[in-house]
C-alpha cells in the first residue's frame, strides 16, 4: 500500500484530510520559534504515573537536551512526542502536545506521517537484519518513494550526511549488522534522515557506544543544528554542555518525574535557578 508524503488517515466521515504538511527545516537557532509545544503533559503506564505536568517549548532548529537521573520520565516524554507510547500496553497520556500547531493526539492525524516527520534514534542501535542499502530503502519504499533513481539519491545523501558514505560505499549490500556499534548508530540516524524529518528525537544515542564512536556520533549531532530540531536525552552532562542549545532538567519528586527547570543550556549549567538543578549539574547529587 503506497503512502505518499501527504497521505491522509483513513477516516470514515468526510472531514477535511489532515496532515502535518511539509515542515520547514529549522530556522537559525538564535531566533527562538516554538516547534514543539508541550502543555501540562502527564504520562502513565498501567495506572502508574511516570511523568507529571510537564510544560515546555522546543524551539525550531535548536538542540534541546533532557537531563536528569534515570526514571524521571525523560524517555516517556520523548516517546509521547511521536506517539510511540501507543505501542506500550496500558499507556495513557494527558495534556497537550502540539507540533507546528497541530495536536499530536488528534484522532484525525495520520500517525505514520507523524512518525516520518518526527524521527527517533534509540539507545541501542537497532538496524534491521537487512543489508545497509535496504535498511534505508525499505522505509522509503513503504512511504511511497518507488523510483530507483530517487531511492539511490536519498540513500547516498543520507549516508553522506552521517559521514558513513566513504566507509560503506562499496559494501552497501552487506548486512547492516556486520557494522561496528558506532557505524550502526550512524546508519540508524541516516535511516531516519532519509525520510526527511523535521524533528529528531534521540534517546541516549551514545551511551551504548565506545568512547571513540561516541565522539563521532556527537559531532554528527552537532552538525544537525539549524537543519533539524533535535531533542536528546542524555546522562552525560559534559555532552549536554557541548552539544545543546537548551536544556531541560528532570527530577523525581514523590515517585513521579517532574520538570524542574528549563532554559538556555549555558544559563542552566552556569547559573541555575533551582537548588536541585545546581546540585545535579555540579555532581553533588544524582
Amino acid at each position: 500500500m503506497k503512502i505518499n508524503s501527504n497521505t491522509t488517515s483513513q477516516s470514515e466521515t468526510s472531514t477535511v484530510p489532515y496532515t502535518l504538511g511539509d515542515m520547514e527545516q529549522g530556522a537559525a537557532c538564535c531566533i527562538p520559534v516554538p516547534h514543539i509545544e508541550v502543555e501540562n503533559l502527564s504520562v502513565a503506564y498501567q495506572g502508574k504515573i511516570v511523568l507529571e505536568d510537564v510544560s515546555l517549548n522546543i524551539n525550531k532548529g535548536c538542540i534541546t537536551a533532557l537531563i536528569g537521573p534515570s526514571g524521571c520520565g525523560k524517555t516517556s516524554l520523548l516517546s509521547s512526542l511521536n506517539r510511540l507510547t501507543d505501542l506500550i500496553p496500558g499507556s495513557q497520556m494527558q495534556g497537550k502536545v502540539h507540533i507546528d500547531g497541530v495536536d499530536v493526539r488528534d484522532p484525525q492525524l495520520d500517525v505514520m506521517t507523524l512518525r516520518r516527520k518526527v524521527g527517533m534514534i534509540f539507545q541501542k542501535p537497532n538496524p534491521f537484519p537487512l543489508s545497509i542499502r535496504r535498511n534505508i530503502e525499505m522505509p522509503l519504499r513503504e512511504h511511497g518513494v518507488k523510483q530507483r533513481g530517487e531511492l539511490e539519491a536519498r540513500v547516498t545523501t543520507a549516508l553522506q550526511d552521517v559521514g558513513l558514505w566513504d566507509e560503506v560505499r562499496d559494501r552497501l549490500d552487506t548486512p547492516a549488522l556486520s557494522l561496528s556499534g558506532g557505524q550502526q548508530q550512524r546508519l540508524c540516524i541516516a535511516r531516519a534522515l532519509a525520510l526527511e524529518p523535521a524533528i529528531l528525537l534521540m534517546d541516549e544515542p551514545c551511551s551504548a557506544l565506545d568512547p571513540i564512536a561516541s565522539v563521532v556520533v556527537e559531532e554528527l549531532i552537532h552538525s544537525l543544528r539549524n537543519r533539524y530540531t533535535v531533542v536528546i536525552v542524555t546522562h552525560n552532562l559534559a555532552q549536554a554542555r557541548r552539544v545543546a542549545n537548551y536544556a531541560a532538567f528532570f527530577w523525581m519528586t514523590g515517585r513521579v518525574g517532574k520538570l524542574i527547570e528549563f532554559g538556555r543550556c549555558q544559563s542552566l549549567f552556569d547559573s541555575p535557578s533551582h537548588d536541585l538543578t545546581a546540585a545535579y549539574v555540579t555532581g553533588v547529587s544524582g
Binding site: 500500500m1 503512502i3 511521536n82 510511540l84 501507543d86 505501542l87 500496553p89 500517525v111 505514520m112 506521517t113 507523524l114 512518525r115 516520518r116 524521527g119 527517533m120 534509540f122 541501542k124 542501535p125 537497532n126 534491521f128 537484519p129 537487512l130 525499505m138 522505509p139 513503504e142 512511504h143 549488522l177 556486520s178 557494522l179 561496528s180 556499534g181 550502526q184 540508524c188 535511516r191 531516519a192 525520510l195 551504548a208 557506544l209 565506545d210
Partner: protein, 282 residues
C-alpha cells in the same frame, strides 16, 4: 589444612552418578548399535526404490516413502498457514483473553496421546467428513498434532525478535504489516524453520494416529484419497504382523532414524544461526 581422604558418601555419590550415566549411554549405544547391525544390510538404493514384495519381507519401501511424503505434504499445507497466522496473532495480542485461551488449549493439545488423535481423526475426517482411510485424513490429523508445537516455537521466535526492531520500525512510521513482512518474519525465519523441522520430526515418528486415518495399504498411492502406509506404520506392521519381517523392519527403522537425525540437525543448525544473528558486534 591438608587434603582429607575423600568421605565415603562423596565417593558413593560420584560412583552412582557415573554409573547412572554409563548405564544410560550404554543402553543408547545398545539400541542404536542393534539397529545399525540388523538394518544396514538393507540400506541400498534398491530398498528405497523397489516396491514391497512378499508382504514386505523382501523388496523395498518406495510406495511407503511416497505415501509418507504425501501425508507430510498435506499436513504442512494445513499447518503452515494456520500456524503462522495464529503465531502472529498471539505475538501481536499477547495478553488478550482469546490469546491466553488459545495458548492454554494448545498446551493441553500438546500433551494429548496420539491414539486419542487417532480416534479424533477417524471420527472427524474419515467418517464425518467422509474422507475414509486416505492420505487426506492422515495428513489433516497430523496437522492437528503438529500445530501446538509449531505455533509455540514460531511465537517464541517472533517474540525473541522483539521490541528493538518492532519499536524501530514503528518509529520510522512503518505499519504493523510492513514491519512484520519486511523485518520481523525474515528475522525470525531461522527459528520458525527450526520449529517446523521439529514438528516434521514429530509427525514422521507418529504411528498410532495414522493407523486409523491413513490406513495400511502398501501400494503406491495414485491420489490423495487413496489410503497410504506411512513409514512408521510399515515398521509396526512388519514387526507385529509379518513373521520374518524383522530385517525389513530394521531397514525401515534405520531409514526413519537417519531422516530424523538429518532433520533435527538442520533444526539445531538453524537455531544456532538464529541465535548468533542476535549478537551484534560493537
Amino acid at each position: 589444612m591438608f587434603k582429607q581422604p575423600a568421605r565415603y558418601s562423596d565417593v558413593m555419590l560420584t560412583l552412582l552418578v557415573w554409573l547412572a550415566t554409563l548405564l544410560v549411554v550404554g543402553l543408547f549405544a545398545w539400541l542404536v548399535g542393534d539397529l545399525i547391525l540388523h538394518g544396514y544390510s538393507k540400506l541400498n538404493l534398491a530398498f528405497l526404490l523397489d516396491v514391497p514384495q512378499n508382504a514386505g519381507r523382501e523388496g523395498g519401501i518406495a510406495p511407503i516413502l511416497v505415501s509418507t511424503l504425501l501425508i507430510l505434504a498435506v499436513a504442512l499445507l494445513a499447518t503452515l498457514p494456520l500456524g503462522l497466522a495464529t503465531a502472529v496473532y498471539l505475538s501481536e495480542y499477547t495478553n488478550g483473553a482469546l490469546a491466553n485461551g488459545i495458548r492454554m488449549s494448545l498446551n493441553i493439545l500438546a500433551g494429548v496421546p496420539s491414539i486419542v488423535f487417532g480416534l479424533f481423526g477417524n471420527a472427524l475426517f474419515c467418517i464425518w467428513l467422509g474422507m475414509g482411510f486416505s492420505i487426506w485424513s492422515g495428513g489433516l490429523t497430523l496437522a492437528c498434532m503438529m500445530l501446538p508445537l509449531f505455533i509455540s516455537t514460531t511465537e517464541s521466535g517472533l517474540s525473541a525478535v522483539t521490541n528493538e526492531w518492532r519499536h524501530g520500525a514503528a518509529a520510522l512510521g512503518l505499519s504493523h504489516t510492513a514491519a512484520l513482512w519486511q523485518v520481523l518474519l525474515p528475522a525470525a525465519s531461522p527459528a520458525i524453520t527450526a520449529g517446523l523441522m521439529l514438528s516434521i520430526g514429530r509427525a514422521l515418528a507418529e504411528t498410532a494416529a495414522l493407523i486409523f486415518t491413513s490406513g495400511y495399504v502398501d501400494r503406491m498411492p495414485t491420489s490423495l484419497s487413496d489410503s497410504g502406509r506411512a513409514l512408521s506404520v510399515h515398521i509396526y506392521d512388519l514387526s507385529m504382523n509379518v513373521t520374518g519381517g524383522d530385517a525389513s523392519a530394521y531397514g525401515s527403522a534405520l531409514v526413519l532414524i537417519i531422516t530424523l537425525m538429518v532433520i533435527s540437525g538442520i533444526a539445531v543448525g538453524l537455531t544456532n544461526r538464529f541465535l548468533s544473528q542476535r549478537i551484534t558486534p560493537s
